[in-house]
Assembly symmetry: D2
Homo-oligomer: 91 residues x 4
C-alpha cells in the first residue's frame, strides 16, 4: 500500500472495518443470536457504509468537480458522474 | 412570478404541491383518519421533499460548482456550501 | 380540536410547523434567495418530515401491532400496513 | 449450517454477497480505480445493506411483535427493541 495516498490508506482502513462488521453479522446469524442483536449490527453497518459514502462524495466533489485545475470538459464529466450515482438519491 | 426563471417556476410549482400534501395530512389527522392513511400521506410527502432536494442539489452543483464561468473562489464556496448542507448526509 | 387526543394535537402542531417551513421555502424561491439558503430550508423540511414519520411509525407500531388488546387479525393487518408503507424503505 | 432455518440460510447468503461487495471495493481503492467506480460500488453496497435491513426489520416485526403466540411482555419487548434500533431513523 506504500504507493497509496494518505486519503486512499484511510479509505482502505475504513473499508476493512466495514468488512470486519460484515463478518461479525454473519457470525451472529450463524450462532442464532437474538434478532435484535443482528438488527443492531446491521444498523451499525448501514451507518459505516453511509460514512464511506460521505467521504467518497466529498473526495469526488473536490477532486473531480471543484478542483481549479480541471478543464471544463473534465469538470462537466465529474459533475455528471456525481449526478448519475446520486441522482434521485434523496427521493 | 414573471421575473422568475423557468427553473424557479418549476420549483415553486413543486413546492406548492408539497404544501397541498401537507394541508391534506393535517386534514387527515383532524378527521381522525386511520393511522395507516396518515402514514401513507407522510411517506408521500417524504418522497416529494426528497424529489425537491434532488432538484436543488442538481441545480446547486451545476450552477455553483460545475459552471465553467465561475471563479476558483466562487467554485470553492459553492462546493463548501454543498458539503455543509449534505455533510454527513449519508450516515 | 377539542375532540382530538393529546397525541393528535401534538401531530397537528408538528404538521403546522412543517406547513410554515414549506411556506418559507416558497418565499425564498420567489425572492430569488441564494441557492444555498433554499437548500438549507429544504434539508430542514426533510428533517422535520422525517421526525413526523418517526412519530407516526411509533404510534402505529404501538397502537396497531403491539397493543395487547388487539385481535390476532387486527394485529396481522397492522403489521401488514406497516410493511406496505415501509417495505423496501431502507433500500 | 444444517441447523439453520431457511430464513437464516437466506440471510447468510445475503450477508456473504455483501462481504464480496466490500472485498471488491477494497480492491478498487487499492488498484487506484477511478473515483466514480468506487462511488458506484459504495452505492451498491449501501443498497444491499438497505435490503438486509428491510429483511431483518420484517422478520423482527413478524416474529417478535406481531406473532399471535407471544405473551404481552414479549410483544412489548419486541416493539421496544424495534423502536430502539429504528428510533429517529427517518429523521
Amino acid at each position: 500500500m506504500s504507493h497509496l495516498s494518505n486519503d486512499s490508506q484511510k479509505l482502505v482502513a475504513r473499508i476493512r472495518r466495514i468488512a470486519g462488521q460484515v463478518a461479525a453479522i454473519e457470525r451472529s446469524v450463524l450462532a442464532n443470536a437474538p434478532c435484535s442483536e443482528t438488527l443492531h449490527l446491521a444498523a451499525a453497518i448501514r451507518g459505516a457504509v453511509g460514512g464511506l459514502m460521505d467521504e467518497l462524495f466529498e473526495e469526488h466533489l473536490l477532486a473531480h468537480v471543484a478542483a481549479p485545475e480541471l478543464s471544463p470538459a473534465e469538470r462537466a464529466a465529474g459533475a455528471d458522474e456525481l449526478l448519475t450515482v446520486l441522482g434521485r438519491h434523496f427521493r
